[in-house]
Amino acid sequence: MNIYKPELVEIKDIIVETPDIKTFRLQFKDPQLQNNFTFKAGQFAEYSVFGEGECTFCIASSPTRLEFLECSFKMYGKVTNALNRLKVGDTMGLRGPYGNYFPVEEMKGKNVVFIAGGIGLAPVRCAIWNVFDMRSEFKDVTIIYGARTVADLVYKHEIEEWKSMKDVKTIITVDPGGETSDWKGEIGFVPTIVEKVAPQSDNSVAIICGPPIMIKYTLPVMLKLGFKEENILTTLENRMKCGLGKCGRCNIGSVYVCKDGPVFSYLQLKELPEDF
């Protein structure tokens, strides 16, 4: 078996999330692969534009909704710009799923707090729908999501849906200066808003994804709120090529992000050398 050869997937739909972020809704061209494909929340995949290359993103859709597989990406480099040029009906490549995942099973019976910034909502969204589709198994659910400006918020329609749900507390914020005249959400950086909302830390698990600077300032807030280090989870987004533990670039010390991650608890992160 050629572990580097992707499967072919077709772009069934494209959602323009922000001026530079899109979500692709994908289906395997081989119906049998589509039927057999499973993954767990937090895992990632390698996406190909043939002739341009591969890049790595988490799977943004939930494993409870297997009709499509979704990924969200921001235009940054060669491959993401090539992805941006694709249209509905085009064919691309996909390898995966790879890596570890959020411990959704162990989170049952607990309060769940989702915290995300910018496109960091993509891996969190996967876990959010996973939890919603088994809602009765979890206690209180809180979502705190922020972006630089109102225009930079992703999954806008879903945010409205989450806000309308009775059993979920959804707080959306934009950085100061990023608000519009009709903005009704919070204004402030994510760590500040987390402190203000002060989600309950007893019997709680938090999933935090976003830019490194947001994570850096949110972690002390979480500890102050009383969250246990092992119950604060995040994903690392190191540069990868193979996703298979071979190409040698995603390691942090002896830990391979592609194999031992991408999901790590704060307790695990603290043990790693400062190399990420």
Binding site: Y4, P6, K74, T91, N238, R239, G248, I252
Partner: protein, 345 residues
């Protein structure tokens, strides 16, 4: 276990016969640059005193550039076509112990979970005939990394010179035994001859890898790295000549209607190697990149695979344009370790 004897002339005859049967026959090149496919048995180099070739043997198992698959554009669709794998039966004559021993080490990372069949197929199809080494210069340190001029690791058959034109021939693996059985007309049994190991001096150990590892375990933040890294110009020749460096990149090469995806050698010494799309780079300075190279070889690989990612061949030092000597760096680490022991006592 039976051992054998083969003469230089018989080795050439054997190579000739294999070439006639369409085997790929590889030997160190005349100019010492690399292990080369030979077309004629007269180009066979069997020489214990040979300096390690400039580039290691690994390219015959893990090529510099390898096609992973081809893609063909068809209107709105693609067809992915498997690259024709190398099916050729291959024999490598005169592999240095520091080259042959790299293959089982590399095999660990290429097989620890997902199996890289490109690498495995080549290993499966190749018979490695190792040759005891009588070369030593100031850059060699095989004995410090648990190997020796007589290390048989990775070889299927091992040759030890009995005289200038006669070799003691030891089968090491089943593959080696089968190869000898299939070519017995060229080989005689070593009835009353014992292994001539006494002719080999063992270079002195220069450092202890246990000490190095223990120091690396505790000194990730040491200023030592930044001094060592100051000199390095990040050219990565050390990785390209190395028998065990296995990092690679995956890129597409495209033309109008078709193209291929390729696995190319890459190196942790390059700035782009770990640079995120956002611009953030966990190893943004050369010192951190140098730390990664040494730590990967003497700590991380040991932690993950219980092997050292170094065979002490000395190529990285011989070829370094700014004279960074990894042997000296490891000696330094070793003495730093000993100093901390003394300070703590």
């Amino acid at each position: 276990m039976k051992n054998f004897v083969i003469t230089r002339e018989q080795l050439a005859n054997l190579a000739s016969k294999l070439l006639g049967e369409n085997w790929t026959v590889i030997s160190p090149s005349q100019n010492g640059s690399k292990y080369l496919k030979i077309k004629d048995a007269k180009d066979l180099i069997i020489d214990s005193a040979l300096k390690p070739t400039d580039i290691s043997m690994k390219e015959h198992f893990f090529p510099k550039s390898e096609t992973l698959f081809f893609f063909k554009r068809k209107k709105d669709d693609y067809e992915l076509i498997d690259a024709p794998g190398s099916e050729a039966k291959t024999v490598i004559f005169g592999a240095k112990p520091c080259d042959a021993s790299a293959i089982p080490v590399l095999s660990k990372v290429f097989n620890w979970d997902y199996k890289d069949e490109f690498f495995n197929k080549r290993v499966e199809n190749t018979v490695i005939i190792g040759l005891a080494c009588k070369f030593e210069d100031e850059n060699c340190f095989c004995t410090s990394v648990g190997l020796s001029p007589l290390a048989e690791n990775g070889s299927d058959i091992f040759l030890i010179p009995l005289s200038d034109d006669k070799y003691f021939m030891k089968p090491i693996t089943d593959k080696g035994r089968d190869f000898i059985a299939a070519n017995e007309t060229f080989i005689s049994e070593a009835d009353n001859i014992s292994e001539p190991i006494n002719d080999f001096s063992t270079p002195q150990k220069r450092f202890s890898t246990e000490n190095v590892k223990e120091w690396l375990d505790k000194n990730f933040e040491s200023k030592f790295w930044f001094n060592a890294g100051e000199t390095c110009i990040g050219c990565a020749q050390c990785a390209y000549v190395c028998p065990t460096c296995h990092c690679f990149d995956i890129v597409d090469e495209d033309c109008y209607s078709c193209g291929r995806r390729v696995k190319n050698w890459d190196s942790c010494q390059f700035e782009l190697f770990t640079k995120h799309a956002s611009g953030h780079n966990p190893r943004e300075i050369q010192g951190k990149r140098y730390r990664q190279r040494v730590s990967h070889k003497f700590k991380y690989y040991k932690d993950r695979f219980d092997e050292l990612l170094c065979t002490g061949c000395g190529r990285c030092t011989r070829g370094c344009p700014v004279s960074i000597d990894i042997g000296l760096i490891l000696e330094d680490i070793n003495s730093h370790f000993l100093e901390t022991i003394n300070v703590n006592n």
